[in-house]
């Protein structure tokens, strides 16, 4: 089946890219000069037993090429070393942080897609009119403002009314009932997610606008109009259906921007996610955390790209040819 070929090819590419990322990680932190500092066993204030254990685990006394394969084996077990700053396994810490990052990023990205599609459709439908110009220029500027600036602006504007930092109210002790707790997190999530939405939606607007203008000029749209179908139906079932395809590609391509943006946002709003963890790790020279963070984020992006490939394949029946 031709479709299976495509899936296999993209899956293979994803796996290879993961290996490339792992190798780059290894190269940066273990091979380059300065790796003395990044040496996984140099956990500050570590007991000699811990240091010895780590040296054995990661084969730090063996030649580099052997270390590489040991590294791969350890990764397969989910072992990414011990954090210099927290003296705990990196993977444990980062997975916990990742659990905080994912909801915020998901909400922000979905909001960006909704806003981007809405403004893009508006712009294309009313091409050349004032709403189009306003919408398009707003998108360009939102995209042009640095993410951190947008976050700071939202802080300035809403610090009084919305929580300005953290993920939950720090003054509530003990276990709060589920729904109020969720509501608490939700209010804290508003500003960070809104910042992500503002920073990401602009490029979606422009892509939808240009894709829709393209599809509105296609012959099948004229055919649909000739069939006496209502304009709204044609817009959504025919034109948008085709215009969404470049959007899927763009969202996947822009994941780097989203990850970077999320990082900056977590710093500004002290959101306890993987971005904030990496930022803190920079200051603390916590190299195992940096390594681990890079790997987790990169693998996530690679897998999401693969998911986007699958989605595109589902949406466009021509791909399997």
């Amino acid at each position: 089946m031709r479709g299976a070929d495509y899936v296999i090819k993209r899956g293979f590419f994803a796996i290879v890219t993961i290996f490339v990322a792992i190798t780059i990680n290894f190269f940066l932190f273990r091979v380059l000069p300065g790796s003395a500092v990044t040496d996984l066993s140099r956990v500050p204030h570590a007991s000699p037993q811990l240091q010895h254990a780590l040296t054995v685990e990661f084969g730090l006394d063996k030649p580099k090429w052997q270390q590489y394969f040991i590294y791969l084996a350890q990764l397969a077990h989910g072992n990414m070393g011990i954090s210099f700053a927290y003296q705990q396994p990196v993977s444990q810490l980062l997975i916990a942080d990742l659990k905080n990052t994912i909801p915020m990023v998901t909400v922000g990205t979905l909001a960006a897609i909704v806003v981007g599609v809405a403004t893009g459709v508006l712009s294309a439908w009313r091409r050349g009119s004032p709403p189009d110009h306003v919408s398009t220029n707003a998108a360009i500027f939102a995209y042009a403002f640095p993410t951190q600036w947008l976050g700071l602006m939202l802080l300035i504007l809403f610090a009084g009314t919305l929580p300005a930092g953290g993920m939950e109210n720090p003054f509530v002790f003990g276990t709060e009932p589920f729904w109020p707790h969720l509501g608490d997190i939700a209010t804290h999530m508003i500003l960070p997610a809104a910042t992500l939405m503002l920073t990401a939606y602009g490029s979606y607007t422009l892509v939808i606008r240009s894709a829709l203008l393209e599809t509105l000029g296609e012959d099948y749209v004229l055919t649909a109009r000739a069939k006496g179908l209502p304009h709204r139906h044609i817009l959504w079932r025919h034109a948008m259906r085709n215009a969404m395809l470049p959007l899927v590609t763009l969202v996947a391509l822009d994941l780097g921007l989203i990850v970077g943006g999320a990082l900056l946002i977590e710093v500004i709003f002290s959101w306890p996610g993987i971005g904030l963890a990496m930022y803190t790790a920079i200051g603390q020279r916590d190299y195992p955390m940096l390594q681990g963070g890079f790997l987790i984020l990169t693998v996530s992006v690679i897998l999401l790209n693969f998911a986007a490939d699958l989605l595109y394949f589902r949406l466009d029946p021509r791909i399997s040819q």
């Binding site: 091409r127 042009a144 640095p146 600036w149 602006m153 300035i156 000029g217 020279r285």
Partner: protein, 319 residues
């Protein structure tokens, strides 16, 4: 299927065919307002950067006002937490930001150009290998990658320039590769007979000049990205904090509690100039790209409709 007459309204939006480099640029500027605005913004900031040291009202190394002094007649944009005039900081900071942007783009162009030319000219295994590398680099999230490299390498302007340049060459490579490949077909046949007319000569004389407009668009867009990334890296503390750039201004404001001090002037103007410059680069670069990809399409569906005119009398002369 085509109408005998394409919607003429769209015909002028596409601009002229790119015949020659300088003629093309002039045509784009003439036809598209966005390109003119974008170019004007870019030129404005370049000029500003050059003359900044001479026209900035105050020194940026000496305290000239109170900590977080609000905007006043003497200090139009107020002062930062070190009592340094904000307007001067933005003017001179822009200088460094632009230099970083241009330098990083230069690095990206060199690498991307090299990869693109090698890939496009030699094709085969070389092409496949290089394009694979490009694909991997595209997928890996750039800011995260840059953070990791910069944290190991150390915080400095030079490192920031290199790190951005090393990761942002992929679009350039693809553009140049495509151009080289299409031109190679034309030139190669001609030159098979010529005795080993050096590859370098062919590349230099025939291929590079044709790539002009697309490369210009790509360069401008890469500069915008570089400036953007510089501010991000600076914000995360990966740039030399003693240097004043647009990025470090924001970083200082955040680190030194500008918000809780209510000093919005330490944040707002800086972001605005960054956005204006990046938007200007985008408008200009995008206008060129649009002009190179003419889309002569009627809108079959739109809010406006065709009109009906009542006939007065009969026959065409009656209208």
């Amino acid at each position: 299927m085509t109408l005998p007459l394409q919607d003429p309204q769209l015909a002028t939006e596409t601009g002229a065919e790119p015949s020659r480099r300088s003629g093309f640029l002039r045509t784009v500027l003439r036809e598209r307002k966005a390109a003119v605005i974008g170019l004007a913004i870019i030129v404005f900031f370049i000029v500003l950067s050059i003359i900044a040291p001479y026209i900035s009202p105050y020194s940026i190394t000496q305290q000239t006002c109170a900590v977080y002094a609000p905007p006043s007649a003497a200090h139009w944009l107020g002062c930062d937490d070190g009592g340094i005039d904000m307007l001067s900081e933005i003017m001179q900071g822009g200088r460094i930001s632009l230099i970083v942007g241009f330098a990083a783009t230069l690095v990206a162009m060199i690498i991307g150009g090299g990869v693109g030319i090698l890939s496009g000219y030699f094709t085969g295994a070389v092409d496949v290998a290089l394009m694979r590398v490009t694909d991997y680099l595209i997928v890996i999230p750039d800011l995260v990658f840059m953070i990791v490299i910069a944290s190991v390498w150390g915080a400095s302007l030079f490192h920031v320039i290199m790190v951005i340049g090393i990761l942002e060459w992929t679009t350039t490579a693809r553009i140049i590769r495509a151009q080289v490949m299409s031109l190679r077909e034309r030139v190669y046949v001609k030159r098979t007979r010529a005795l080993g007319a050096g590859h370098l000569r062919i590349i230099g004389k025939h291929i590079l000049p044709q790539v002009g407009p697309l490369l210009m668009a790509n360069t401008v867009l890469t500069i915008a990205i570089a400036i953007y990334l510089e501010t991000a890296l600076a914000f995360l503390g990966l740039e030399d904090p003693t240097v004043t750039t647009w990025g470090t201004i924001l970083e200082h404001a955040f680190e030194r509690t500008a918000i809780s001090s209510g000093a919005w002037w330490a944040i707002v103007p800086d972001g605005i100039v960054i956005a204006v410059l990046i938007a200007g680069c985008f408008l200009f670069g995008q206008a060129i790209e649009d002009a190179l990809n003419p889309r002569l399409k009627v809108a079959h569906l739109s809010v406006r409709r065709w009109r009906l005119r009542p006939l007065v009398g009969r026959g065409p002369d009656a209208i």
